[in-house]
């Protein structure tokens, strides 16, 4: 096959490309330029798309003897990932920009350009696995190394996208082995630190970054029944489950700490309450997509057992789920959690699994604790 290896300049994508070459594919390395103003050198483990990253990817391609190109997706990235990130926060939701990037850039804009130019598939260094069923339909599964598993951030991929994905690191038992392999192959990135956090916020200060881009207006902090407790400097600076930085002065009646339960950007209101009310036992998700073909229960609207994960590196919890048709013709994924979760915010993605298989995902529209009635706050 003609395979486009997306090369970040890191060790995972370099080893993935090397394995694709070994597998006999005709491989071309492509680095995605996602920022119009790339920094020159990396500092620490944050950020990406620096000139140094581009050069690291280039050196890896030299070593593998494959062509190397830089493709500019900075405009698409700004619109579909960065601007979306800001407007989601403005609306009081908590987006996951890495998922957006996978959904719309790596496995959409990049994939489509690759197909137009004659490639059959895109290969990345993600830790996840594509398995084909007997009819050849792709299924997405967790990687062998659960500690590194990235199936969550790939949970947005559709049947068509998965059909063109190659994840050569799927069966690698651990990241240490990937580094050792890079070393053995003479790849200079073998000991390069992992990237963390959000690539377009290089200093890692998400709140500070957002504060420069979102209008911050002071407003009220109220308790779970709507009673005013104090003032905040801008609702967007808060996140559900947050405990520190509320600056309320007077303690709660029971003397226990208060936590952010909900953010209402339209009313510019932050609702706080006791920890117990953070426990969520029902999630409702909209904009459902299936990672491959939907399972029969989902299509039929019957309830099924699954596990729900709401963060890239959060433990999945057992749940019963069903697809509920709405009057407007859309579908909602309703998951009743067997054990409650803490601090789930609208906008986060719920990815549902059966065993190692990713069934699909939905965007959390409401995360409810049956112990609290949010309409008490008017």
């Amino acid at each position: 096959m003609k395979v486009l290896a997306a090369m970040s300049g890191g060790v995972d994508s370099a080893v993935a490309a090397a394995r694709a070459v070994d597998a006999g594919h005709e491989v071309v390395g492509v680095h995605l330029a996602l920022s119009r103003m790339p920094g020159t050198l990396r500092t620490g483990s944050r950020g990406c798309c620096t000139v140094e990253d581009s050069n690291d990817a280039w050196r890896a391609c030299d070593k593998l003897g494959i062509p190397y190109y830089v493709w500019d997706f900075s405009e698409r990235f700004k619109e579909d990932v960065v601007d979306d990130f800001i407007s989601e926060y403005e609306a009081g939701r908590t987006p996951n920009p890495c998922m957006r990037c996978n959904e719309r850039i790596k496995f959409a804009a990049l994939l489509e350009k690759a197909i137009a130019l004659g490639f059959d598939a895109v290969c990345t260094g993600h830790y996840a696995k594509v398995i084909r069923d007997s009819a050849g339909n792709p299924e997405l599964h967790r990687a062998a190394d659960w500690a590194k598993d990235q199936s969550y951030v790939l949970g947005v991929l559709t049947h068509e996208q998965l059909d063109h994905c190659i994840f050569p690191l799927a069966d690698t038992p651990s990241k240490a082995l990937v580094r050792a392999e890079a070393e053995a192959r003479g790849l200079s990135v073998a000991n390069k630190p992992d990237s963390h956090d959000i690539c377009f916020i290089p200093d890692g200060d998400t709140r500070g970054w957002l504060a420069e881009r979102i209008d911050m207006t002071p407003g009220a902090i109220v308790d779970q029944e709507g009673k005013p407790l104090g003032e905040h400097e801008g609702a967007h600076a808060f996140t559900v489950g947050q405990r520190k930085g509320l600056k309320l002065g007077t303690p709660a009646a029971d003397g226990k700490p208060r936590f952010v339960l909900e953010i209402r950007p339209k009313e510019n209101k932050v609702i706080v309450g006791p920890e117990a009310l953070l426990a969520v036992d029902e999630l409702r998700g909209i904009r459902i997509s299936w990672a491959g073909l939907p399972i029969a229960d989902a299509s039929a609207g019957t309830e099924f057992d699954c596990m729900v994960q709401v963060r890239a590196h959060g433990d999945p919890v057992d749940a019963r789920a069903r697809v509920e048709a709405q009057e407007d013709g859309s579908n909602v994924l309703v998951a009743t959690l067997i054990e409650p979760m803490r601090g789930v915010a609208p906008g986060q993605t719920m990815v549902i699994y059966q065993d190692t298989r990713v069934l699909g995902q939905a965007t959390i529209d409401s995360a409810r604790s049956t112990a609290w009635d949010p309409t008490l706050v008017s």
Partner: protein, 396 residues
């Protein structure tokens, strides 16, 4: 590198001796150095004492602009203006901008026609506006992207009466067009070794004997004290050999390349009628365009996609320039010629050289229609995807 250049350089690399030393080995190296200087001067219609060897075109442009500016401004502080056509190479543009940012210079940008040729009326008006304030004027001999040859004689004729020194970046023109430094009236002229079949890492600045420059690099006082540093006899020998060979074949090779280029242009127009040919025409092969340059913009496609498909097919072309991270940028030359950003993104430059053949042109012309179709499709993909996605997010 040409065979003659390679042979001259490798032979010299095996010898011992610093051209500045007085012992026997030094005298031998000195002789090689000075013979190379004489041969290079002869190839460019210059006097040997006007040849200042440098590390290449970029250094030559830096030495010319900074050297002339400092000397002229030092002699008369009113001289702060530098006249710069907007289509210059970055070695000139960035040097001028550095002088503006750090040395008190002001840049007067000179516009070009839609064919990429300096507008002489504007130049005349800018000189007449306040000639005493002009430190220097720079004008490339031929544009590296779109191949348009500039009217150097007319430019010098306008600047000469006001006593304004003119620098020309002739990196592209040297050995592609007949050049006589002596006849040109230029104060300084930059050339590069590797562009003419010589080694990388050597170039020269021709400096008229009466031109006054302040040096950038100080030390042992080599090269008329304008460029100190141990002389590189091996590279000079390779450079001179390449220049001698290329100028000897200039007339025949120019005609051969111009005919090949015409065949390429005709072939592209026949296969892809919407492709736009950029730069000056060269109807009688009279030297109004670089003979080996064919430049097009292909509507609706990204130049880097077309480059990619052609590269896979074994055709090596160029599209504008890339930033340090490798991201293609719309060409400042095309923008200066009045093209919009989208048009400029579809640029593709085909450069023909001494190894190019009619068979190569046939291969390229045959490959272009499919390559163009693929690049167009890829260009659309960068705007909107037709691939089914999850459609997450509330805002879009």
């Amino acid at each position: 590198m040409s065979d003659a250049a390679l042979a001259a350089m490798t032979h010299e690399l095996a010898q011992t001796g610093n051209p500045s030393s007085l012992h026997g080995a030094g005298r031998r190296a000195h002789r090689v150095m000075e013979e190379s200087r004489e041969r290079l001067a002869a190839a460019a219609g210059a006097h040997p004492s006007e040849v200042i060897f440098t590390s290449g075109g970029t250094e030559s442009d830096n030495l010319a602009l900074k050297g002339l500016y400092w000397a002229r401004n030092g002699a008369d502080a009113r001289r702060t203006r530098i006249l710069v056509p907007v289509i210059e190479h970055h070695a000139v543009l960035d040097t001028a901008e550095w002088l503006a940012a750090h040395e008190g210079a002001t840049i007067t940008w000179l516009p070009v026609t839609s064919d990429g040729v300096i507008d002489l009326e504007v130049l005349a008006a800018e000189i007449a506006r306040d000639p005493a304030s002009i430190a220097l004027l720079t004008c490339m001999w031929a544009n590296n992207e779109v191949g348009s040859v500039q009217p150097i004689a007319e430019v010098v004729a306008l600047a000469g009466p006001a006593g304004i020194p003119v620098h020309s970046d002739a990196v592209q023109a040297f050995t592609a067009l007949p050049i006589s430094f002596a006849d040109s009236g230029l104060a300084t002229m930059a050339v590069s070794g590797h562009k003419i079949g010589g080694p990388v890492g050597i170039g020269a600045l021709f400096v008229r004997r009466d031109a006054v420059l302040t040096p950038i690099q100080h030390g042992g006082g080599h090269e008329r004290a304008l460029r100190s540093g141990t002389l590189n006899a091996a590279a000079a020998a390779g450079f001179a050999a390449a220049a001698t060979e290329a100028t000897a074949n200039l007339a025949a090779e120019t005609e051969r390349l111009a005919s090949l280029r015409d065949a390429l242009v005709a072939g592209v127009h026949e296969r892809i009628p919407e492709a736009v040919f950029n730069g000056t025409a060269d109807p009688a092969h009279a030297g109004t365009r670089l003979p080996g340059n064919a430049h097009f913009t292909f509507p609706g496609c990204e130049g880097d996609s077309l480059l990619f498909v052609l590269d896979m097919l074994g055709v090596h072309s160029s599209t504008g320039s890339a930033c340090t991270a490798g991201v293609p940028r719309p060409s400042h030359v095309l923008l200066a010629m009045g093209r919009d950003e989208e048009t400029a993104r579809g640029a593709q430059r085909f450069t023909l050289g001494h190894t190019s053949s009619a068979a190569d042109i046939g291969k390229l012309v045959a490959a272009l229609p499919e390559a163009y179709a693929r690049a167009q499709k890829a260009g659309m993909a960068a705007q909107v995807s037709s691939i089914q996605t999850a459609g997450t997010g509330f805002t879009r």
